[in-house]
């Protein structure tokens, strides 16, 4: 029992202090970086998207109930903050409880991976998601997406996306349609003629101020963190500067999306130009923050290109050719995660073959 609690005690102690642990084997000095640092950088990279998302929740609410545009920016943000905060509380409380519990069972130190997953989950669901659903989804994702495999580093799928997939398939009415993207208080009704659908669900139909600029800026309905491409690009800059996310995955994803989008344009199945696909829906958010998860993405450098292209291409394919789902990014990344080990296997096998031939030539 004492050992069980050790993980929890250690987690809080090492949160406050970098411990005075010294090297016992091998290299006597070690780099100052640890996983806490890497994970906190990802969280920092997510902060612009989160802050903007909170504001947008309030802003969309103002529009929806006919409050007009004059509302104070801080008032909007505060309204959205109060709406999103419970999502964060539930996400972290449920996820960290399971994480601490299973670390205790395994007798390992608590891995900081959930700091990022817990921050991501509220950003990829509609602000209206009922908290009990979110709690169930988080529990499912953390237990069956991560802990059963042995914790962070061992998982096959991105836990945050698994949580979203769980919600999407278990409670489709809470994650699709045109009502869920706008948070309302009980009793509030939409203004006349208003529809809160995301640009994707409307297939590019005329929407209030739904211009390319607003899509880029993010003043459109959508999941909390996904709407603002500017905020996401800020995060992308941090992740690329620090080298934590792979630029190959990001570039691959954009290339794949543009390629399929262009095919769609040529074939006439698409109603918006291919570049427009990049700034609507969850594409940008998924490409920057979720496809690049080092654990679930391809491990090899060549593999990262293939994996990125696959995700971008799959996302737009789902958008264009599947009438059931307006958005394809979630499924594309989960498919990409599933294919990543296979991609790596092919890359590594061909490397081994080449290497063997080279060695034989030298021998």
């Amino acid at each position: 029992m004492k050992k069980f609690w050790a993980a929890t005690v250690d987690a809080f102690a090492t949160f406050l202090h970098v411990p005075g642990t010294v090297t016992r084997k091998g290299a006597h000095v070690r780099d100052a970086v640890d996983l806490k640092r890497i994970m906190i950088i990802v969280v920092i990279a997510l902060v612009p998207a989160a802050l903007f998302g909170m504001w947008n929740v309030g802003y969309q609410h103002q529009i929806a109930v006919g409050g007009g545009f004059a509302a104070n920016i801080w008032a909007n943000w505060w309204w959205g903050f109060l709406k999103v905060l419970p999502l964060y509380v539930v996400s972290y409380a449920v996820g960290l409880f399971i994480e601490f519990f299973s670390s205790g069972l395994r007798g390992e130190e608590v891995n900081e991976g959930y700091l990022v997953s817990g921050f991501l989950i509220p950003l990829i669901v509609p602000a209206t998601t009922p908290l009990w659903m979110l709690a169930l989804a988080v529990a499912f994702a953390v237990i069956f997406g991560k802990e059963v495999f042995g914790g962070t580093g061992m998982n096959i799928w991105n836990p945050a996306l698994l949580a979203r997939a769980f919600l999407f398939f278990s409670y489709p009415s809470a994650l699709s349609g045109s009502e869920v993207w706008i948070a309302r208080k009980a009793g509030e009704t939409f203004a006349d003629g208003f529809t809160g659908a995301t640009p994707l669900a409307l297939e590019g139909a005329a929407q209030y101020s739904n211009t390319v600029w607003s899509q880029f800026l993010g003043t459109i309905p959508g999941s909390v963190g996904e709407t603002s491409v500017i905020a996401i690009l800020l995060g992308a800059f941090i992740l690329l500067w620090t080298g934590i996310a792979s630029w190959k995955v990001m570039c691959g994803s954009v290339i794949g999306a543009l390629a399929v989008g262009a095919l769609g344009d040529l074939a006439g199945v698409s109603t918006i130009p291919c570049w427009n696909q990049l700034i609507v829906g969850g594409f940008a958010f998924g490409t920057v923050f979720m496809a690049t998860d080092p654990v679930t993405s391809a491990q090899t450098e060549t593999g990262k290109w293939i994996y990125g292209i696959l995700i971008g291409a799959l996302c737009i394919t789902v958008r264009l050719f599947n009438p059931g789902y307006a958005e394809g990014m979630m499924l594309a990344i989960l498919m990409g995660n599933t294919a990543a080990p296979l991609i790596d296997h092919c890359v590594v096998t061909s490397h081994i073959g080449r290497r063997a031939r080279k060695l034989n030539a030298k021998a």
């Binding site: 290299a27 006597h28 070690r30 806490k36 890497i38 090899t300």
Partner: protein, 463 residues
């Protein structure tokens, strides 16, 4: 590939540029002067220094020995001997649990009476006689084989023999300073080793010091010039770019220091392993060189670090050395002693501190990579806790200039999957080659140990 090299002196055509690697910017480099000549009262021979060697004791407490008298023999190959570096008497035989032999302590009489093995001219001897001459003098343990990094089997005929003439490890001893005056011995050593292989003796030189190094004058060897950061000076990295080790082939390696000792054995007929040792490190007082023997107690070097409280004394460099402490002794293969502070101080919210000006990190989540000219006072703090591998393969391969996928190799070793280990290149590496992967690992795994365990498993399977 080997066949096409002309074995000519000063073959400058083989310059190999390595872009991967890392020079750890730590303070405390030894000044190029011999600050102290130590004639130790005792020397300690530790069987654990010798890899792939099962010790059989050849002496008893009270026996008198000379320089070069055999002290240990390999149980499986009794011709492989370990000799006493000093003359004197066997003072103590230290045993541990189950009577495991831990150390043989020899009290020096200070006279350095040496056994005479006879002066020999290697260029007129055949391979068998050369092996015999090296074996009987107890210098054979200097010859290490790849794969596995263990003492070579004298019955083998290796594909080639490799010697790295520079050391890129942090705070390593300068070979020019320690051995630049022993060119004649080195040349004798090369002449001897050249008879033991058909692939020739290969010497790795540093492009940065190529013009100034005396070693490019050495003859009867193929010179390769390497440019790059650590581990460019590791002989394993050099081999992988010239003559990669595959299953079923063997190459031998000798340190430059070992080469000089082998050469001296032919030139003088004596066993002489005296060496200049760099005493370096952030906590060393006036870091400089000491002239001493392997097995010399660290207390004889106390002038370089004073009181050892809160300090770690390492025989070897900070990446691969062994913690020996003040009561320990200099390892057989080491010509460097590193002294650094134990990093037992917890650091309040350290991981969240945006700058951490006093710490070095290669990771761009800190900013020290923007000030590459700075050097740091490093201590032994782990800076984190052990985790599963999270970062992908490229994070590790940026400090491993070899054509392998390091993370796949580590995981194959962890899984004990011999088939996968072979495919991912276990024959090419020894723990020191992946020491930098261990240094930069944000998951704080003991990667050198992972590789060592993998190699141990391979050796066990072969038996």
């Amino acid at each position: 590939m080997l066949g096409k090299f002309e074995i000519t002196p000063n073959n400058m055509s083989n310059k190999i540029v390595l872009t991967k690697g890392l020079d750890i910017p730590v303070i405390g480099e030894a000044e190029l002067r011999v600050a102290k000549t130590v004639s130790p009262d005792t020397v300690t021979i530790r069987p654990s220094d010798f890899k792939g060697f099962v010790p059989r004791l050849l002496v008893r407490e009270g026996d008198s020995v000379k320089c070069g008298s055999p002290v240990l023999a390999d149980k499986r190959r009794p011709e492989v001997l370990v000799s006493s570096p000093v003359s004197g008497t066997v003072k103590e035989i230290v045993r541990g649990e189950k009577r495991k032999l831990l150390a043989v302590v020899i009290a020096s009489d200070g006279r350095q009476d040496a056994l005479d093995f006879g002066i020999k001219d290697p260029s007129s001897l055949e391979a068998g006689k050369i092996k015999e001459a090296i074996l009987e003098s107890g210098l054979w343990p200097f010859i290490i084989q790849r794969p596995y990094g263990i003492i070579a089997n004298p019955e083998d005929r290796p594909k080639a023999i490799f010697i790295s003439a520079f050391d890129t490890a942090p705070l390593a001893a300068s070979p020019e300073f320690t051995l630049g005056d022993r060119i004649a011995d080195l040349q004798k050593g090369i002449d001897a080793l050249a008879r033991l292989t058909d692939g020739g003796v290969h010497i790795g030189l540093n492009a940065a010091s190529y013009a100034g190094t005396p070693f490019h004058k050495l003859e009867n060897a193929v010179m390769h010039v390497f440019q790059g950061k650590h581990p460019a000076g590791n002989v394993g990295v050099q081999i992988s770019h010239v003559c990669p080790v595959t299953k079923g082939t063997t190459v031998w390696t000798v340190s430059l220091m070992g080469l000089a000792a082998i050469g001296a054995r032919f030139a003088t007929g004596r066993y002489d392993v005296r060496r200049k040792v760099a005493v370096a490190g952030p906590a060393a007082i006036e870091p400089a060189y000491a002239d001493t023997y392997p097995g010399a107690p660290m207390s004889s070097l106390a002038g370089f670090f004073g009181n050892t409280e809160g300090l770690r004394v390492v025989s070897g460099n900070i990446l691969t050395g062994e913690t020996v402490g003040r009561d320990g002794s200099l390892g057989f293969y080491d010509n460097c002693v590193t002294v650094l502070k134990e990093g037992t101080q917890p650091e309040l919210l350290g991981w969240a501190n945006p700058i951490r000006y006093k710490l070095f990190s290669t990771d761009h989540s800190y900013f020290s990579w923007l000030t590459p000219w700075r050097k740091y006072d490093m201590d032994t703090n782990l800076h984190g806790g052990p985790r599963a591998f999270v970062m992908s393969d490229a994070y590790y391969s940026k400090v491993l200039p070899m054509d392998i996928y390091p993370l796949y190799l580590f995981k194959a070793c962890l899984a004990g999957d011999i088939d996968a280990m072979e495919k991912f290149g276990i024959y090419e590496v020894v723990p020191e080659d992946v020491a930098l992967c261990e240094y930069i690992d944000p998951s704080k795994n003991d990667i050198q140990e992972i590789i060592a365990n993998g190699i141990r498993l391979l050796l066990k399977e072969m038996e």
